[in-house]
Amino acid sequence: MRRDAPRPNRVLPLLMLVALAAWLGLVAVSVAPNRIVPGTGFRAHEVVGWAGALGACLPPLAVAVLAWHPSPARLRHALVLIVLLLMALPAWLGLAATRLVDPELPQARLGLGSAFWVLLFLLLLALIELRSRLALSRLVGWVLLVPVLLAWWLALASWLEPLALLQEYRARSDQFATAVWHHLALVGAAVGASLVIGVALALLMRPHAGLQRAGFGVLNFLQTIPSLALFGLLLAPLAWLGANVEWLAALGVRGIGWAPALLALIGYSLLPMVRNTFVALEGVDPAVIESARGMGMSRRQVFLQVRLPLALPVILEGVRITTVQAIGLTAVAALIGAGGLGGFIFQGLGQAAMDLVLLGALPILVMALVADALLGALSERLHPGGAR
C-alpha cells in the first residue's frame, strides 16, 4: 500500500451492497388492475430481464469501488453517481409502467415495492454520508436535491400516469390542496399562539421560583399525556361549551373539529416553547447585562437591545421543535375531525388503500423535514457572529 493511501471508506460499500441485494431480491414494483385488487409483485429482473437488472448494478458497484480508495475527487465522482441514481429512480418506474401496465385498462396502476423504498432510503443515506465526508455545507446538500426533484417532477408530469400514488392524488386534488392548507393553518395557529403565550409565561415565571416549579410541573404533565388521549379528553368539555355558550358556538367551537385540536396542540407546544425561552433568557451572560447597565441603558433597553437579541437563537430553537412536533400531532388531530393531511392517512387505513395513506404521510414527512431545515438555518443565522 502506498504511504499516503487513505483508509478505505467502508460505509459506502456496505450501503451499496445492501442496496444491490434489495434491488435483486425484493419486489421492485407491483401492478394492480384496479384500486381494490391487491397488486402482483415484480422483481427487477422480471421487468427488464437479468441483463438489465445486473447492468443497473454497475453504478452502485462503481460508487463502492470509488469509496474503497477515497480521495476528494473520487468521492465527488461518487456523489455525482448517487445523484444520477436518485434521478434514475423515476425513469426506472416509468420504464416499468410502460412494460407492465396495460394501456387498455385505465384503472390499472403501478405500486411501489419494498425494493424501491429500501433503495431510496439507502441512496439518501449515501448522500448524507458523502456530504459529511466532503464537508459540504447544508445548503449544498439541498442544492444537490434540486436535479433529483426536477427529474421526479418531469416524470410525474409526463410518463408516470399509472403510478397509484398519482392516481389517488388526481382523484382528490382539490381535497389535497384544502388538506394541506388546513394542516398548515392549524400548525401556524398553534405555533403562533404558543409563541405568544409561551414568551409571556416565561417572562411571568422568571422572577418567581415557586411559579417556575408549578408551571413546569403542569407543562411536563401535559406533555406526558399521549396526544390521542388529550384530543379525546378535550372532546367532552368543548362539546359542552359549544352547546351552552352561544358566542363560542357561533365561532364554530364543537366537540369535534378544529377547536379541541388547536387547544391540544397549544398545550403540547407550550412546554418546549416556555422551556427554551426560559433557558434562553437565563443563559445570557450576567457580565454582558451588567456592562449594558453600566453603559447607562435602562432596564427596558437592556431587555430589548441586549437580552432578547442574545436569547433569540435559542427561542427560535424552541419554535423549531414546536413546529416539527405540531406538524406530526396535527395528523393525529384528523381523528377528531380537524381536517388536514392526517385525514388521508386514516381514510386510507380504513379502506386498506395504502397509496392513500402515502398521499397523507409523505407530505407530512416532507413538511416536517423542510420546517426543521428552514428554522434550523434561520436560528444558525441569527447566532451572534452570523452563520457558524
Binding site: 448524507i128 459529511s132 379525546g232 406538524i327 395528523a331 392526517g342 414527512l365 423535514l369
Partner: protein, 250 residues
C-alpha cells in the same frame, strides 16, 4: 415499617400511586357507570365492553415493552459499536441519521410502516422499535462521547481491558443520558402504540377510536383516562430512576 421499606416507599411513592390508580381504573371502570351515564345520556351502552380493560392494558404494555426492550438493546448496541475503534467509520452517518430521524412524525412513520409490513400487532412493534431507536441511539452517543478522554485513559492505565472499561466505566458514566433517551423513547411509544388501534392492533387506543367512530364520548374518556394514567405511571417511574442515578453517580 423497616427504614429500608419506608425509604423505598418515599422514593417510589408517586409512581406507585399512579400505578394503583391505573389498576383501579382498569378493574373498576364499570363502577363509574353513573358518571359515564351522565356524560353520555343518550347511548345504549356507556362502558366499553368489547374487551376487558385489563386485557387491553396488557396488550398495550406488551407491545410497548417488547418494542422498547429491543430498541434499547439495538440502540445502545449500535452506539457502543460505532464508538469502538473498528466502528468509527460509521459514526458520522449514524449520528446524523439519529438526529435527523427525530424530525419524522411518529404518525407518519406508523402510516408508512403499514404498506410495507401490513396490518396487525407485529408491524406496530417493528414501527415502534425503529422509531424508538432514534432517541436511544442519539442519547447513548451523546453519553458515550461526553466522557472525558482522560477518564478513559486512566482506566486503561489501571490495567483494565477494553471490555472492562466499557462495562465498568463508560456505560455507568453514560447511564443517566442513556436513560433519558430511553424515557423519551418509551413515552413516544406509549402514545404511538395507542394510534396502533387504527392499524388493526388491539390496545388501549381501541376505546378511543371506537368512541370517535360511534360518537360515544364515554368510550373516549375511558380509553384516554387509562392511556393517560399509564403514561404518567411510566414517566414518573423514569423520573425517580433518573433522580436516583444522578445522586449515585454525581
Amino acid at each position: 415499617m423497616t427504614p429500608g421499606l419506608a425509604a423505598g416507599l418515599r422514593r417510589w411513592g408517586v409512581p406507585l400511586v399512579w400505578l394503583g390508580l391505573l389498576l383501579l381504573a382498569s378493574l373498576g371502570m364499570a363502577e363509574l357507570e353513573a358518571v359515564f351515564r351522565w356524560l353520555e345520556p343518550d347511548s345504549r351502552e356507556v362502558i366499553y365492553r368489547r374487551t376487558e380493560f385489563l386485557t387491553l392494558l396488557g396488550r398495550h404494555l406488551l407491545v410497548v415493552g417488547v418494542a422498547s426492550l429491543l430498541a434499547i438493546v439495538a440502540g445502545v448496541g449500535a452506539a457502543v459499536l460505532v464508538t469502538r475503534p473498528f466502528g468509527r467509520d460509521f459514526l458520522p452517518l449514524v449520528a446524523q441519521f439519529a438526529s435527523m430521524g427525530q424530525t419524522f412524525p411518529p404518525v407518519a412513520v406508523l402510516a408508512l410502516a403499514v404498506p410495507v409490513l401490513g396490518f396487525g400487532t407485529l408491524p406496530i412493534i417493528v414501527a415502534l422499535l425503529l422509531y424508538g431507536l432514534l432517541p436511544i441511539v442519539r442519547n447513548s452517543l451523546a453519553g458515550l462521547q461526553g466522557i472525558d478522554p482522560a477518564v478513559h485513559e486512566a482506566a486503561r492505565g489501571m490495567g483494565m481491558s477494553r471490555g472492562q472499561v466499557l462495562r465498568q466505566v463508560e456505560l455507568p458514566l453514560a447511564a443517566p443520558v442513556i436513560l433519558a433517551g430511553v424515557r423519551t423513547s418509551v413515552t413516544i411509544n406509549i402514545a404511538t402504540a395507542a394510534l396502533g388501534a387504527t392499524v388493526g392492533a388491539s390496545n388501549l387506543g381501541d376505546p378511543i377510536i371506537s368512541g370517535i367512530v360511534n360518537g360515544n364520548t364515554a368510550y373516549i374518556v375511558q380509553g384516554a383516562l387509562l392511556i393517560g394514567l399509564l403514561a404518567l405511571t411510566v414517566d414518573s417511574a423514569f423520573e425517580r430512576l433518573l433522580g436516583w442515578r444522578r445522586i449515585r453517580f454525581r
